[in-house]
C-alpha cells in the first residue's frame, strides 16, 4: 500500500486501470474530461493493455462499451451531465441486457441554465434506468467504491451496471491523499472478468436485445428487480471483505453520531464530509445532531435507513437536485417512503445547485432550524436553503416601449 495524491478523476482512473479493463470508449466532457484523457494516455503508453475506441458521442461511448463487454471483456466508460443525458437511451439497454459496466459519473447540473458545476440532477434523472448508484464523500471513496462496484455489479446474482457518482470539481478536481493498494491485492479482490450471462460470439450466436412482447417483458423487468433485491446482500458482503482486506469500512447507510441525536440530516455526496465537520462542531456546543450518509442510492436501502432514523422526531433531507414539480427532491421522496409509518417530522431542503458551495454555514443553518423545530420555537423551515432573496429579479433587460 502506498499513499498517493490524486483528485477524484485520478482515483477513478486508478481503479479502472487496476480492474484491467480491455476496452475503453469514453467521450470527454467537463468535469469528467481528465478521466477520458488519462485513460487514453495509459493506453497510448502501453501501461494499460486495452483498446481505446474514439467515439463521436456519449450515446456511442456507452453502446461500444456495452457491446464490448458482451464479447467477454471488462469495458469502461465515464461521463457527466449532458453526456449522461445523451446516454439515457443506451443506459436502459445496458441494464436490461444485464451488462455489468462500472461507470464513474462526475455530477454536474443539466442545462438550462448552462452549467459546468456540481449538482446531482444528472444522475438523479437516471435513477430509474436500472443502474446501481453509489455516491462518494471523498476521493478515497471514489477509488474504494469503484473497486467494490466491479465486484458488486458483476456478481452473478446482481448483473447490474453501476454508476459511481462524484461531485464535479468538489471531488473530481480536489487533490486528496489516498491509499492505493497493491495491484496483486486488487487482482485478488476483483478477479478477471467472467461472462455470466448473454454474450456475443460468432461461433455460438445469440440475438441480444431482441423485440420482446407483453408475454415476457414483465418477467424481464422482474429479473432486474430481483437483481436489485439481491444486490443489498452482495454490497454488504463486498464491503465486509473490503474492510478485512484493505482496512476501510464503508456502509450502505452511515449513521454518523446518530445514536443519541435529537435531529438527523440525510444527505448524499461530498457535502457529507462538511456535514460531519458541522456535526462535530455543534456537538461541542452541546447540540445533539447527527448525519445519515447515503452511500448507496440505488438500490435504495430503506431497511438500513429505517434503522438509523428510528425514533428521530425531526429529520432533514438535503437534495442537491431541484426535483422540479415533485413534493420534494428524489432523496426526500425515498426517505419519506422508507419511514412512512414513523411519526417523524421530515423537512425537505434543496441546495448546492449548479456548483453552489454547500458550506459549513449552510449546513449549520439547517441543523439550527431543525433543532428549533424540535424545540417548538420554529414552525416553517427554509426549503431552498441557499437561494438568494432577489431570485425572481436577478436579470433585467431593457425593452422598447
Amino acid at each position: 500500500m502506498a499513499y498517493k495524491m490524486l483528485d477524484g478523476n485520478g482515483a477513478a482512473v486508478e481503479a479502472i486501470k487496476m480492474a484491467k479493463v480491455q476496452v475503453i470508449s469514453a467521450y470527454p466532457i467537463t468535469p469528467q474530461s481528465t478521466i477520458a484523457e488519462q485513460l487514453s494516455d495509459l493506453v497510448a503508453t502501453g501501461e494499460l493493455k486495452a483498446q481505446y475506441v474514439r467515439v463521436e458521442s456519449e450515446h456511442t461511448a456507452l453502446s461500444v462499451a456495452t457491446a464490448a463487454e458482451l464479447t467477454g471483456v471488462r469495458a469502461a466508460t465515464a461521463t457527466a451531465s449532458q453526456g449522461l443525458a445523451l446516454m439515457h437511451e443506451v443506459a436502459g439497454m445496458t441494464s436490461g441486457c444485464r451488462v455489468p459496466i462500472v461507470m464513474p459519473v462526475v455530477n454536474r447540473g443539466l442545462a438550462a441554465p448552462w452549467t459546468l458545476w456540481a449538482d446531482h440532477g444528472d444522475a438523479m434523472s437516471e435513477r430509474d434506468t436500472g443502474w446501481l448508484q453509489f455516491y462518494c464523500q471523498n476521493v478515497q471513496e471514489v477509488f474504494d467504491l469503484t473497486v467494490m462496484a466491479y465486484r458488486i455489479a458483476e456478481d452473478e446474482n446482481v448483473l447490474t451496471p453501476a454508476m459511481v457518482c462524484m461531485d464535479g470539481f468538489f471531488l473530481s478536481h480536489s487533490m486528496q491523499k489516498i491509499d492505493i493498494p497493491d495491484q496483486e491485492a486488487i487482482d485478488e479482490f476483483i478477479g478477471p472478468f467472467v461472462t455470466k450471462n448473454s454474450y456475443l460470439d460468432p461461433e455460438d450466436p445469440m440475438f441480444v436485445c431482441n423485440l420482446t412482447g407483453p408475454d415476457d417483458f414483465t418477467e424481464m423487468r422482474y429479473q432486474q428487480k430481483v437483481g436489485f433485491d439481491n444486490s443489498i446482500k452482495v454490497i454488504e458482503k463486498v464491503q465486509k471483505e473490503f474492510a478485512q482486506k484493505f482496512g476501510r469500512k464503508l456502509q450502505i447507510i452511515e449513521g454518523y453520531r446518530t445514536d443519541d441525536a435529537d435531529v438527523v440530516l440525510v444527505a448524499l455526496g461530498s457535502m457529507c464530509g462538511t456535514a460531519k465537520y458541522v456535526v462535530n462542531k455543534l456537538r461541542e456546543q452541546g447540540k445533539k445532531v447527527g448525519l445519515a450518509k447515503v452511500t448507496v442510492f440505488r438500490p435504495f436501502p430503506f431497511r438500513q435507513l429505517r434503522e438509523v432514523l428510528g425514533g428521530k422526531e425531526v429529520i432533514g433531507v438535503f437534495d442537491r437536485s431541484a426535483g422540479l414539480g415533485g413534493q420534494g427532491g428524489p432523496l426526500w421522496s425515498e426517505t419519506c417512503a422508507a419511514i412512512k409509518d414513523y411519526n417523524s417530522d421530515i423537512r425537505h431542503y434543496v441546495g448546492g445547485l449548479g456548483g453552489r458551495d454547500v458550506s459549513v454555514r449552510t449546513i449549520e443553518k439547517i441543523y439550527n432550524e431543525l433543532l428549533e423545530i424540535k424545540n417548538g420555537t420554529r414552525k416553517e423551515h427554509t426549503e431552498w436553503i441557499d437561494v438568494k432573496e432577489n431570485a425572481m429579479d436577478i436579470r433585467q433587460v431593457l425593452k422598447n416601449a
Binding site: G96, D204, M206
Partner: protein, 101 residues
Amino acid sequence: MQEQQEKLTNKPRRCRVLGPVAYEYTAANTGSWRLERPDVDFSACIKCGTCEKYCPTNVITIKKDQKKCVEIDFNYCKGCGICANECPKKCIKMVPERSEG
C-alpha cells in the same frame, strides 16, 4: 443462419440467461411472411437487373445466360412488391400466394 441454428440446438448444455435474448430463430425464414409472390413474364423481360438492385432483402439473382433469367429465393422473399413496382417493362406481376399453393 439455418446452419448455425442446427449446430446450436444440437448442443446438450442449457443455461439460464437473463434479459432479452433469442437463441432459436423460429421466425428466421421470412419467406413464410409472404401473401403475394412476384411472377416474371420472361417473354417481356430484358434482363436489365433493376429488380435485383431494388430488392431490399437481396433475394434476386440475374442469370443472363438462362431463359428464366430472374431467380428468386422464395425462402426469404417477403413479397413486398418493390421489384414489380420498379420493373421498367412492367413484366413482374404480384400474384396471390395461396392460388399457387
